[in-house]
Symmetry: C2
Subunit: 143 residues, 2 copies
DNA sequence: GTAATAAAAGTATTTAAATACTTTTATTTA
DNA sequence: TAAATAAAAGTATTTAAATACTTTTATTAC
């Protein structure tokens, strides 16, 4: 569904969100540890997210990545778009070059429903929403 | 969602199904052409499907791949399982090693619904079902 | 039985994602 | 201002999927 990098990105941002109240900044190493993902992958992806304005970064001593109130309100759709792009929400389930109702593949209607369900999930859930269960200990970012 | 190979497999089997009545057998080259997929990929995948009993094959002159009545009744789930396995129906949406309600990720419930929707699609639609719209010209296997 | 045909099988190459490494730049603190 | 810190950026390697090539085996037709 999503790339390894994109799933790591969502977990990284939720981690930052769950630490939002502390006001702290977090280094690449620490974030990678907390979400059990590859350090280098996480480094690259955090830079992309910062450049896209989805998280904030600060260089130098006491620097690191952090998230601000406005960013907490963003849907995870924003993260998916920044990392994987919008293909996942538009691609044909059987690999036709273009998904369209005018020239559909045999599973078009049913697949479109599934795909729209996933898009809905991504556009309705905000970082803030997903931090709640993590903060209250009923959902986890690591296995 | 599914690998390129798996999507090609579904299209290949639907193509064979749509030609079922003719009683003909079809070569790798012809099938690959008809579904606009790589010839080598199609060759490999047809062998796997034949070995799994999802389609039939015959060597020699006038040989090729074909499908029989019983096989037309199979859900496309059988194809997905033969090519990609069952991971797609069990994996965590955020990449945790194991998806479980006891140790869920923050999107577990919603993602599980989406995933179940896709499984439902795959287990309810049979080859036969998906051949109908192709035969009546309202769905297509190529762009 | 020989030749032709087409799948089966095994191996090799290509490509893109993921992961790893290195250098540079900005910021803070002393 | 100098040293330390940590992100930013660029490059390289690894890995797995996809694609390409080659050889073998089974079947048919003559
Ligand atoms: S055309 Fe295949 S999903 Fe829309
Ligand atoms: S634990 Fe993530 S989808 Fe179930």
């Amino acid at each position: 569904m999503l790339s390894v990098t994109c799933k790591a990105a969502i977990k990284a941002v939720i981690y930052l969100g769950s630490m939002f109240k502390s006001g702290e900044k977090f280094g690449i190493r620490e974030i990678a540890d907390q979400i059990d993902e590859n350090e280098h992958t996480v480094g690259k992806l955090l830079q992309k997210l910062a450049k896209a304005g989805l998280i904030c970064s600060a260089k130098g001593p006491n620097g690191g990545f952090y998230i601000i109130e406005n960013q907490m309100k963003l849907p995870i759709l924003a993260i998916v778009e920044a990392i994987d792009g919008t293909d996942v929400f538009n691609q044909c389930g059987l690999g036709l070059h273009k998904c369209s109702a005018a020239h559909p593949c045999p599973i078009h209607n049913d697949f479109k429903s599934v795909r729209e369900g996933f898009r809905m999930l991504c556009s309705e859930k905000t970082i803030e929403d997903l931090c709640l269960p993590v903060n209250s200990g009923i959902a986890y970012l690591i296995s």
